[in-house]
């Protein structure tokens, strides 16, 4: 999509074209999911159409996580309404707190009833792959049309080369910092390597403007940066086959690094939950942390002049790269699952494809103001990433991140290990000095073995 196109232009262009003549007046005809000609949408390549015939009288129930920003929900609802108008398929969308969706999805999978589509997290689909409808046709269609899926999207969405879910996006995470404080500490920008990063944090601390990363039970912020730290030094919970190998020299190196980094933190990070770093940053108590785009937005959209000023001083950077020499970040991946218990799988597939199509996805991602980044390469050019240069860092979620089960298989074990905070606990124990790095790694090894024994 080019930047000049307004959302209204996109909406005017038809997306779903019902093949005329085939359908009776009362039923819904086959829906061809390739309504756009290639010149109307520069971004999409001419691709094979996806032919789906929604079931007669289909109605859908969708369960999704409750929005982080209002625009997300507004556009999701508007897109859903558009779908209903075009196809006559009624869709009910329920919202649940983001941490409550996982257990609900698991129960729905087990008892074989519940919403047709659930928008869940991470490796949810890999915990009950046999309960999910194969959506390879939809994924292939979308991939061909929108520049292909990122490898990470493929890793989360497929199992044995079959798509079991449609990745919806990545909740971006990055280093958030105060430009002036970093400059005062003698740095032009955030160093791109872990050694330089440590020096920056030490300099910030010396200047009385320390960094702070959550080490308490912070589901998002804590897990994200803890996994980055472990992986950046080559440590990992498991190898490719799922053997637990966390008690390794690489992990010890990561933990030694964590100890040095922790010394530069503002006091109290061991008890920090998800909201703490936002509060501390916006109050000016920390100059650098890891977070979604929410800190910046809270400042930018605040009526307070002090926060407006702060917003001008905020910038974002990628996490530094450690001795392994490549990015090792973790972010929240969200996926749409279609359950076998759905009575209207074709209608549901049409909905999945519709919501992911450029005419819906681009305005939606724009409305989510950078919280969610794309799983499909073509959407990189969405203006949300360039309208404000400070957004750009959040564009590259799926492109650079690793999956949370790295380097092992995704499934119940990887889900449980993260929910039990094994990596985060290990980092916190070693960083705070309550356990030696060796002890912390041994404890994590023991705990992880329990889950990966399955």
């Amino acid at each position: 999509m080019t930047q000049e196109q307004s959302p209204r232009d996109q909406q005017r262009r038809g997306f779903l074209q019902t093949t005329a003549g085939l359908a009776g007046a009362s039923s819904i005809g086959p829906v061809t999911l390739a309504g756009l000609s290639s010149e109307a949408n520069a971004q999409s390549k001419p691709a094979e159409a996806l032919k789906i015939t929604p079931e007669k009288g289909a109605r859908l129930r969708v369960l999704r996580w409750k929005r982080f920003v209002q625009g997300d929900e507004d556009l999701w609802t508007a897109n859903t309404k558009k779908f209903t108008e075009k196809t006559g398929i009624e869709v009910r969308v329920d919202n649940e707190g983001w941490e409550d969706v996982r257990p609900k999805a698991a129960v729905a999978a087990n008892i074989g009833s519940g919403p047709d589509i659930i928008i869940g997290w991470f490796d949810d689909p890999h915990q009950y792959p046999d309960k999910l409808v194969d959506v390879t046709d939809v994924a292939t269609y979308l991939g061909n049309r929108y520049g292909g899926w990122y490898d990470l999207s493929r890793r989360y969405g497929t199992r044995n080369n079959k798509w079991i879910a449609i990745p919806l996006g990545v909740i971006g995470n990055a280093i958030v910092y105060r430009e002036s404080h970093v400059r005062d500490a003698g740095f032009d920008s955030v160093p791109k390597d872990t050694a330089g990063f440590l020096k920056l944090c030490q300099a910030l601390k010396a200047k009385g403007t320390p960094p702070g990363f959550a080490l308490g039970k912070a589901v998002g912020d804590g897990n994200n940066w803890a996994h980055w730290l472990l992986w950046s030094h080559g440590g990992k919970l498991v190898d490719e086959k799922g053997n637990v190998i966390v008690n390794s020299p690489e992990t010890i190196a990561a933990l030694e690094y964590a100890k040095q980094l922790y010394e530069t933190f503002v006091p109290g990070t061991l008890g920090w939950l998800d909201p703490n770093n936002n509060k501390a940053f916006l109050d000016g108590q920390i100059s650098l942390t890891a977070n979604g785009i929410s800190v910046y937005y809270a400042a930018k959209n605040s009526p307070e002049p002090r926060l407006q000023e702060l917003a001008k001083d905020i910038n974002h950077a990628r996490f530094p790269i450690g001795p392994v020499g490549k990015p090792t970040e973790l972010m929240q991946v969200t996926q749409m699952m279609l359950f076998k218990h759905s009575k209207f799988p074709n209608a549901a597939k049409a909905y999945l494809a519709f919501m992911m199509d450029a005419d819906q996805y681009n305005p939606w991602m724009q409305a989510a103001i950078g919280y969610v980044s794309q799983p499909l390469k073509a959407y990189e050019s969405n203006p949300v990433w360039t309208s404000d240069p400070k957004h750009t860092v959040y564009r590259d979620g799926a492109k650079i991140m690793l999956d949370h089960g790295h380097a092992g298989p995704l499934g119940l074990a990887s889900a449980s290990a993260m929910a039990d905070y094994i990596v985060l606990d290990m980092i916190a124990e070693a960083a705070s000095g309550s356990k030696s790095p060796k002890e912390a790694a041994e404890r994590a090894q023991k705990r992880a073995e329990r889950y990966y024994k399955l």
Binding site: Y128, L270, G271, S416, S432, R447
Partner: protein, 308 residues
């Protein structure tokens, strides 16, 4: 004819005391079976399986228990729970009794004070916990702010970021919330003690301390037993306060068995293990009940006699 015979039979049946008794008992029995016995039984059963959320498990015997006993985090949660319960219960008892004795006097605005001390108890825990979360915030704590302004401390107290600070902080919040319950119940007990007993004791020359020790305390013991049993049970199974304040952190120092059980069972998906951890709480709860039943309700002691 047949229906008339049936009706007669039914009315004869309803005249039977045993049948009627069973019938009247049935609703209560069904409620107990359905909502107490069944969930408890199911929970115990799950503890012996490797059930995951969304996946039925198979019987694994004591496997979950064997693992939990060797698991450092589970051990720590047991330690935390015992410390939390013991200290908070003792504090709640002492403060509650003290408050009850004060409120039992003829104070001005007596009913106002009696109503007001209930406030911490009637505010939903989740809400008061959020208030405490701000009070304890590492950066924004008003407590730290006041102490700094007074010049008593030179840096903010790390209430929730240090293991022992966090334990004391959560205990303080729990005590704040639990004292009114203890105080009001004990006050009710105090009101049942006839003033004539105190007058008689006073006439015999008993001092205030002696009257408390030999009149008030023995007569209050049955109430204390019941109140403290409940207080211990509530504290031992506390969840909301911890979940809002720390979620079990820092370094799992405030993870109670209830919160760890939730973490493993629901977000973690290990339903069997979580259930086993919850089941492990039962022996402790049972012993608290038995202690109050056999230890504090001995009639001889209450009536001023000596233990046999």
């Amino acid at each position: 004819m047949a229906s008339a015979g049936g009706a007669a039979q039914l009315s004869r049946l309803l005249d039977n005391r045993n049948v009627l008794g069973a019938l009247f008992m049935a609703p209560a029995a069904i409620l107990l079976l359905l909502f107490l016995t069944y969930p408890l039984g199911l929970g115990t059963w799950l503890g012996f399986t490797d059930a995951k959320i969304g996946r039925e498990g198979v019987f694994v015997g004591l496997d979950n228990y064997a693992y939990l006993i060797g698991d450092a985090v589970a051990q720590l949660s047991l330690f935390n729970t015992l410390v939390y319960t013991a200290i908070a219960s003792v504090l709640k008892f002492v403060l509650g009794l003290w408050l009850a004795l004060l409120l039992n006097r003829n104070l001005p605005f007596k009913s106002f004070f009696r109503a007001v001390i209930l406030l911490p108890y009637i505010v939903p825990t989740a809400l008061s916990a959020i208030a405490f979360w701000w009070l304890y915030d590492a950066q924004f704590s008003v407590l730290s702010w006041v102490l700094t302004k007074l010049g008593w401390i030179d840096h903010y107290i790390d209430f929730l970021g240090d293991p022992w600070n966090a334990r004391w902080s959560t205990i303080a919040a729990n005590v704040w919330r639990g004292v009114p319950f203890v105080a009001i119940c004990l006050l009710a007990g105090l009101q049942t003690i006839s003033p004539s007993l105190h007058e008689a004791a006073a006439l015999d020359g008993a001092t205030a301390t002696q009257r408390f020790r030999h009149v008030t305390l023995p007569l209050l013991t049955p109430i204390i037993a019941v109140v403290m049993t409940f207080s211990v049970l509530f504290t031992f199974t506390d969840f909301q306060l911890i979940y809002v304040l720390t979620r079990g952190g820092p370094l799992n120092a405030t993870h109670l068995m209830a919160t760890l059980s939730f973490q493993r069972a629901i977000p973690g998906g290990a339903l069997g293990e979580g259930a086993a951890l919850a089941t492990l709480m039962i022996p402790f709860l049972l012993s608290a009940i038995l202690f109050s039943y056999f230890g504090l309700q001995r009639r001889a002691w209450q009536q001023g006699g000596k233990d046999q």
